[in-house]
């Protein structure tokens, strides 16, 4: 049973065909990787599915209902969270206050529970709990520091924490590993696996292929807005079109 299925999504920016009828479907609890060279349409695909830009054609089924054309906040409310490639924390707020906003949202309040908003006053505690779970040391001052003073590694985690606070069913991770050191990525991988174990479906756009292949169940490759390969990562990197997209063709 696929939780999300995307059918023939197309998007053009002026004369540029950014996405050319891309289709894929993701099973519940799966980690699905999307790879491709720069400008191949990975982020555009995420933006189309999460409602930040409107695709021209195609359908997006989430749990059986077509969510294509819904406004972004409605899609998020249905349970599809996303991180941003260019990190977008609330710089003027302390790190844990960044999570109050998703915790305040109708979805988190409706679900409640230990990760939900709960009553007013609990939210600060819940926020620090989520930050601790994602690797902010609780007893240090880091959860209370201004987001503008945090290093990149923590900001990437904060992006993910903001998604978790929403209690989503699907998280789109737009390059959460990029810009991190090898040891920071090593710290993120168990986190991703933990989210998977909790039953959250993850769709990861990534350039760091080695790390992605450690966690992803299936991978799709995009080039110039077209899907060129899909399957287990070994099949995908063995595909001649994928090799050509990344390395260039030999005849040149």
């Amino acid at each position: 049973m696929s939780i999300l299925s995307v059918e023939n999504i197309s998007k053009t920016f002026g004369g540029l065909q950014a996405l050319m009828s891309v289709s894929f479907s993701v099973k519940q609890g799966e980690i699905y990787g999307i790879i491709g060279p720069n400008g191949s349409g990975k982020t555009t695909l995420i933006n189309c599915i999460t409602g930040f830009i409107k695709p021209e054609a195609g359908k997006v089924y989430f749990r059986g209902s077509n969510i294509k054309g819904w406004p972004a906040h409605k899609i998020a409310r249905a349970g599809i969270a996303r991180t941003f490639q260019v990190m977008r924390p609330y710089y003027s707020l302390p790190a844990y206050k960044n999570l109050i906003i998703p915790l305040w949202s109708p979805r988190a309040r409706a679900i409640g529970g230990w990760r939900g908003g709960g009553k007013h006053g609990d939210r600060d505690t819940v926020a620090v709990d989520i930050l601790e779970e994602i690797g902010f040391e609780r007893d240090s001052r880091i959860p209370y520091k201004m987001a503008s003073t945090l290093p990149t590694g923590y900001l990437k985690r904060l992006e993910l924490a903001r998604c978790i606070a929403l209690r989503p069913e699907i998280i789109f991770c737009d390059e959460v590993f990029s810009g991190l050191s090898a040891s920071e990525v090593a710290g993120m991988v168990p986190l991703i696996e933990k989210l998977k174990m909790e039953g959250i479906t993850l769709i990861m756009v990534e350039h760091r292929l080695k790390e992605l292949f450690r966690v992803a169940d299936r991978v799709m490759a995009l080039q110039f807005g077209e899907k060129i390969a899909e399957g287990h990562y070994k099949e995908v990197i063995a595909d001649p079109r994928v090799k050509e997209a990344y390395l260039g063709s030999e005849e040149v």
Partner: protein, 336 residues
């Protein structure tokens, strides 16, 4: 000779630790409450102090109306991120609404003002609704345009008293009520807005200013939140306008004057943005200053501009930011 340097040290009270007040002695309680008590008591005593000067009592009333506009501008611009030059629109709509309720529908003053606030805020919010997705200067231009639009419509169609305005509004039953209505409204809204901004819903509004994309991605309807903020701000502005109309016992085209849009901005710039109190301090300087300078006749605007420029050049962080720092920290000479 030994070398020395100036150190700047935070006062050792944890009064600024996230909503929890660690207060252990009378001295510290006074330290926390002092500025607030000073503001509240000062404002409440002002009409009594100025007993002998009815003209200045009038100035205080008008100053408080500008204060209402300044806090609503500060709230929209520095918390929600909507630069709204609609002060004139709020005053005008509030003033005309109370005139309609009071003169045409015969509501008494104490009913007409709150009704005008609610009705005016609804009208202003509806009018600004299509522009809420605009940002920065574009939103500012639209809000600046509406008062001009209203003026021309009233002139051209000769409705609502045309260029003469609506006369015969009830005045306040006694002069003390006249003073204290606006002073108490102002205090309630200053502290109310400050509380709102610290609540979780206030954090969402601040999040919208920081980046609205993340707020959207958190499943919150940004347009709804902005509309709510505009409603709150225009409610405050319209109450000010309704009060002003009753003070003048007249609602006319001059309620749409550009001053109501510009002076709040100047006040927030001088006082420092984001805290509401800065806006208040700004108006408490600017409005009386402008009255004092009447002494210089037509030369007044020149001096006014020079003083404004001085504030902006020498204390560009805002007076409140400066004084708050001086209050929370102390400096001393230390040996190196």
């Amino acid at each position: 000779m030994e070398a020395r340097r100036k150190e700047r040290i935070d006062r050792g009270i944890k009064v600024r630790s996230e909503g929890i007040y660690v207060v252990s002695s009378l001295k510290e309680m006074l330290y926390v409450a002092g500025p607030r008590v000073f503001l509240i008591a000062g404002l409440l005593l002002l009409p009594l102090v100025l007993e002998m000067a009815p003209y200045w009592k009038r100035v205080v009333n008008i100053m408080c109306v500008y204060g209402m506009l300044a806090i609503s501008f500060d709230f929209l611009a520095n918390i929600v991120g909507l630069v709204c030059l609609g002060g004139a629109m709020f005053i005008g709509v509030g003033g005309y609404m109370t005139a309609i309720f009071n003169v045409y529908l015969h509501c008494p003053v104490y009913l007409a003002i709150p009704l005008a606030g609610l009705a005016g805020a609804s009208i202003c919010t509806l009018l600004l609704l299509p522009c809420l997705s605009l940002r920065g200067v574009y939103f500012a231009i639209v809000t600046l345009m509406y008062p001009l639009l209203f003026t021309r419509i009233i002139e051209a169609l000769n409705i609502l008293g045309g260029t003469n305005g609506i006369t015969g509004l009830d005045s306040f039953p006694n002069p003390y009520l006249e003073n204290y209505v606006i002073i108490i409204l102002l205090l309630v809204f200053v502290f109310g807005l400050r509380r709102l901004v610290d609540e979780d819903i206030g954090l969402v509004l601040r999040g919208i200013k920081d980046n609205d994309q993340s707020v959207k991605a958190s499943g919150i309807n940004v347009a709804h939140m902005k509309a709510l903020a505009v409603f709150i701000a225009s409610f405050i502005g319209c109450l000010g306008g309704a009060y002003l109309a009753h003070l003048y016992m007249w609602a006319g085209l001059s309620l749409f004057a550009l001053d109501f849009s510009i002076i709040p901005i100047a006040a927030v710039t001088i006082g420092g943005g984001g805290s509401m109190l800065g806006a208040l301090i700004g108006t408490f300087i600017l409005v009386p200053l402008s009255e004092f300078l009447r002494f210089f006749g037509t030369f007044r605007i020149v001096i006014y501009c020079l003083i404004l420029t001085g504030f902006i050049v020498f204390k560009s962080e805002g007076l409140l930011t400066y004084f708050a720092r001086k209050y929370d920290q102390f400096e001393r000479w230390a040996k190196i």
